[in-house]
């Protein structure tokens, strides 16, 4: 007979009857919901509208307020969700009530559903009414703006779904525990423990891997699936902030966890024995685990906070760990046992946790698993994404050949910031007269040490560098950043003392790269490092330059230059002297477009062959309005330098390096001193490249510098380092990007000799 029952027959009539009773008996709750929704929705709307009207209405006022209301509505929905979730089925908090409700002729799941449904009905009706009133006020005041109804509907829907997520989460927590306090804590555990543990692991990995790309791991999309709060915020700000369209994905992303939570809650509620009333089903079993997990987490957090947050050393890390362990241990004992007398309960457990924390920290600190240098094999890599900081560009490498080429460069960067790094100091690097002793010395450097004799290291941590002024920190350095200069004869004149200055320039001309290695199997590896404009390691630049991804990038740039409007783009520079009073002469080069096209083509051909020379700056292509594409410029790129000289119709191009250029007004010059002689003191070296021959000369002699400076001009006075085009939005810039004039570091400018004035020292050198 039972098999012939319809669904309606199966649904107990007394459950519906009880539902009706419940709704009527708890009308006070409904009134409360109405008041809360009025205060959260209608009142702010009326106040906002009044305020806006007092200050004058502008076009998007209705849209803006509706957008803000969408967020407020989600917040109030979450609050009501917590309220309902805590209150519904709270009869399990009491043995008396449980005995009563479980003895009456109603199935437990019916009871569970009815109580939740009644509260949802209260919420749905009160929020809908008040939200509708709010939106009606807005629409009547400001008129209907584009997509108004879609936006309002979406915002309301997300509010309702947010309520469901929070409500079902608390129902699940209630099914696992019982009493109000534990229900609240359990909801917190379900909502935040998985993501907290995730960040704990990421934080620990970061202690041994300074190069970890934290933002990537924080923004991993799948994280929102393990944290309902994150999910709600993500969807709310994605949709309630005004995105329109039918948000199927967003609805599902909130609906699915709600269904999962609720299904689990009903299942657990059914399985929950009446005798467990007022007791937590699970808390007693897991409270010890939770206690020591929190203590462990606090210990780790204390360590990370003291070590990283305050930039402390090992002793501070120990201090942070001890503080975190002991304080959290006492706090958890007091909370769990609800008595201060029990604050030291479980000392043995604390001992074990302390040992575990220490082992855990040391494993990461000394990188026992070699996480810092870990890299997937090319066979297991599906894709590598390279993302560069300003100007932002992304290169995706999917070809096996490209991946294999770039891997050594990435592996070279892996060594950066690694404690006790065993860098193979470039034995082949002609820049350093490194004997075996030197190699030994460098390879045993620890973080924080500084050896005054060997300043050949680069700084990744710019802020640290700034803070510690001229102190070198080895937290991020690699000898691969030292450009090999064999091919650049002129630099052979630089002695070891000057190396650091070049290196500094290399640093400040470098860009940050974020690389994400996506394996076929395994966890995505996301790291960051500061590298030369394209590659982290000049040594490996060649590899990248040959890569399909990079060539695609250059080709795209080339195409964009070629695709510009066909018109005469003039190519100009100011032929001004250093003095303000001197006459400025603009030199115009005809066929500028062709010139620029040639330049990118020559660059593209040149870069694979010349990357092993010294990095002397970058050549910047301004293609679109405001968009700059700097490409690394190497000393070996004589063809490119020739073209720059040709663009200026000059025989020589001068690359000048200076600390800080004084304000170019003679008034500031000390009395009785020639202005040019005065500013010449600031220049520390000139590199002069002869057009067409590939010859170059580097000098630091003050007499030479003065002579050159008296006869030269900046390519563009107002825009340092620039050969600028005359187009409104498109022009070509060539030069070296140094740090700003405000800093104490060296800048590099590109200069040329003024017409007909080439100093004798230059003529003699190149004769």
């Amino acid at each position: 007979m039972s098999s012939q029952k319809t669904l309606l027959d199966k649904f107990p009539k007394n459950a519906l009857s009880y539902f009706r009773f419940y709704l009527l008996a708890n009308w006070q709750q409904f009134v409360l919901y109405l008041i809360l929704c009025f205060l959260a929705c209608v009142l702010p709307t009326i106040l906002d509208v009044s305020e806006a009207q007092r200050h004058g209405i502008y076009a998007n006022q209705g849209y803006d307020i509706a957008q803000a209301m969408g967020i407020v509505f989600v917040v109030i929905s979450c609050v009501l969700g917590i309220f309902s979730g805590m209150a519904a089925n709270s009869y399990v908090n009491s043995k008396q009530a449980t005995n009563c409700f479980h003895s009456i002729p109603m199935r437990r799941e019916s009871l569970f559903v009815m109580e939740g449904a009644a509260r949802f009905l209260y919420y749905a009706v009160s929020s809908s009414v008040m939200y509708s009133i709010s939106m009606s006020v807005l629409l009547l005041t400001y008129g209907v703006w584009e997509n108004a109804f879609t936006m309002i509907w979406n915002n309301w829907l997300i509010g309702v779904l947010s309520y469901l997520v929070v409500f079902t989460l608390f129902q699940l927590a209630g099914a696992l525990t019982a009493t109000a306090g534990f229900r609240f804590c359990m909801a917190g555990i379900i909502a935040f423990l998985p993501i907290a543990l995730y960040f704990l692991v990421v934080g620990c990995v970061a202690t041994s891997m300074d190069s970890i790309h934290m933002d990537y791991y924080i923004e991993v999309p799948s994280l929102r699936w393990i944290c309902p709060a994150y999910l709600i915020i993500y969807v709310t700000f994605g949709l309630a902030s005004g995105e329109v369209g039918y948000p199927v994905l967003q609805i599902l992303s909130l609906l699915i966890p709600s269904i999962l939570y609720y299904t689990a809650a009903i299942f657990l509620h059914r399985k929950r024995r009446s005798e467990m009333a007022a007791n937590s089903v699970i808390w007693n079993k897991i409270k010890v685990i939770v206690k020591y997990l929190v203590v462990f987490t606090a210990g780790i957090c204390g360590a990370i906070l003291m070590y990283s947050g305050f930039g402390g050393g090992f002793s501070w890390m120990v201090f942070g760990t001890v503080c975190g362990l002991i304080l959290s241990f006492i706090l958890m004992n007091v909370l769990i046992n609800r008595s201060t007398k029990s604050m030291f309960k479980g000392i043995a457990g604390l001992g074990i946790t302390t040992a575990a924390t220490a082992v855990f920290l040391l494993i990461f600190m000394f990188d026992v698993f070699h996480l810092d240098s870990f890299m997937y094999s090319a066979d297991n890599i599906r894709e590598i994404e390279l993302k560069f900081s300003y100007p932002e560009e992304e290169i995706r490498l999917t070809e096996r050949e490209d991946i294999e080429r770039i891997l050594p460069a990435l592996e070279a960067m892996n060594g950066v910031a690694y404690i006790d790094a065993d860098y193979a100091v470039a034995e082949t690097d002609k820049f350093i007269d490194a004997d075996e002793e030197t190699i030994e010395k460098i390879s045993t450097y620890f973080s924080g040490y500084y050896d005054d004799d060997y300043k050949m290291f680069l700084f990744d941590n710019y802020e640290l560098y700034m803070k510690e002024s001229m102190e070198y920190d080895t937290t991020s350095r690699t000898v691969y950043d030292i450009p090999a200069v064999e091919a650049t004869e002129i630099l052979t004149e630089i002695d070891t003392e000057t190396i650091p200055y070049y290196l500094e320039n290399s640093v400040f001309n470098s860009r940050r790269v974020y690389y994400v290695v996506k394996p076929k199997f395994g966890i995505t590896l996301a790291k960051t490092g500061r590298i030369h404009p394209i590659s982290g390691a000049a040594k490996h630049m060649e590899e990248l330059a040959y890569s399909k991804g990079y060539m695609d990038y250059l080709t795209e740039l080339e195409n964009r230059i070629a695709a510009r409007e066909v018109r005469e783009v003039t190519f100009e520079y100011n032929n001004s002297y250093w003095s303000e009073d001197s006459t400025k002469q603009n030199r115009i080069m005809k066929n500028g477009k062709t010139y620029q096209e040639n330049l990118i083509q020559v660059y593209k051909e040149s870069i694979p062959a010349d990357v092993n020379s010294a990095l002397i700056g970058s050549i910047e292509f301004y293609v679109d309005n405001g968009m700059c594409y700097p490409l690394p410029l190497y000393a070996g790129m004589t063809e490119v330098l020739d073209l720059i000289a040709e663009g200026c119709s000059k025989t020589y191009v001068i690359l000048s390096r200076y600390d800080e250029l004084p304000i170019p007004e003679e008034n500031y010059c000390p009395a009785g001193m020639d202005y040019v002689d005065w500013i010449a003191e600031e220049f520390t070296g000139f590199l002069i490249v002869e057009r067409g021959t590939g010859r170059s000369w580097y000098t630091e002699e003050k007499d030479d510098i003065r002579a050159i400076l008296h006869n030269s001009t900046n390519i563009n006075y107002y825009r340092n380092n620039v050969l600028s085009g005359a187009g409104d939005t498109e022009y070509l810039a060539v030069g070296v990007r140094g740090v700003g004039e405000e800093t104490e570091y060296y800048n590099i400018d590109m200069m040329v000799f003024r017409d007909g004035v080439i100093p004798n020292c230059v003529t003699e050198k190149f004769s």
């Binding site: 107990p12 007394n14 008996a25 005995n99 009563c100 009456i104 002729p105 024995r273």
Partner: protein, 303 residues
Amino acid sequence: MIRTENVTKCFGSVRSLHEVSVTVENGSIFGLIGSNGSGKSTLLRTLCGIYKPDQGDVLCCGEPVFENTAIKEKIVYLSDDPYFLPHSTMADMCQMYRSIYPKFSMERYRELVQKFGLEERRKIQTFSKGMQKQVSVLLGLSCMPEYLLCDETFDGLDPVMRQLVKHLIIDDVAERNLCCIIASHNLREVEDMADHIALLHQGEMVLESELDDVRTNISKIQLSFPKERCDEMEVKLQEMQPLSVVRRGSLFTVIVRGNEESLSGWVEEQKPQFCEFIPLTLDEVFITEMEERGYEFTKDLIG
């Protein structure tokens, strides 16, 4: 008919019921007695579907009770610690029970309200403990149950109300064929009402029988012997395998299994100076049975 078959129920490591089998017919009052913690309340809660037995079956009209809405509509459980909705009045609770129990009789409810003389619109939490018990009984009986499970229901009721409740239950048994199970420590109450009793001890059913059989199967005999024969008779009485023998001078009080008819022959053979068969109260039956099972509270508590 409601019955349990080998029901076992454990709470963690504590075994509250162990293979309890009991059958209660409709139209009868079943007294459930036992020491503290013997499992009386657990058995009642298992019978009405609050607890799910770990082993065995609880059947009512041949169907399992647990989560069986149709069967539970026939059963009302009056808890020893009744629950009412927070801040509710009797009228509110009436509405609740009315929505849940299809046979709830408003007529009966009004009649009982009058009989008990309770204020319908007053918040129940302001009632005394005894009055709350009355509300519980009132609501329970208004549901017109076929099975009424009373857990210490008479505790806290004044004698008048106790009589009223007794009469109401007895009337329902007589008129509606109600099956009532009363768990109580107050054996006098049970003795007055029950036609069947069951004795639980440490979760096990020690005794289950009609009340009259219980009384007749155990006899209390007072015997007196000449002073010189007393020592001899003290030994001799052990042949009866008495449940207890108390000697005060030459007067012996013996409790022994068996009825007067079967024992009188042996007693007369001993030629006592005085002999009298005294009827046992349920209290005495309870204490005797419990003492036999090692529950010797008199020695421990009284000394």
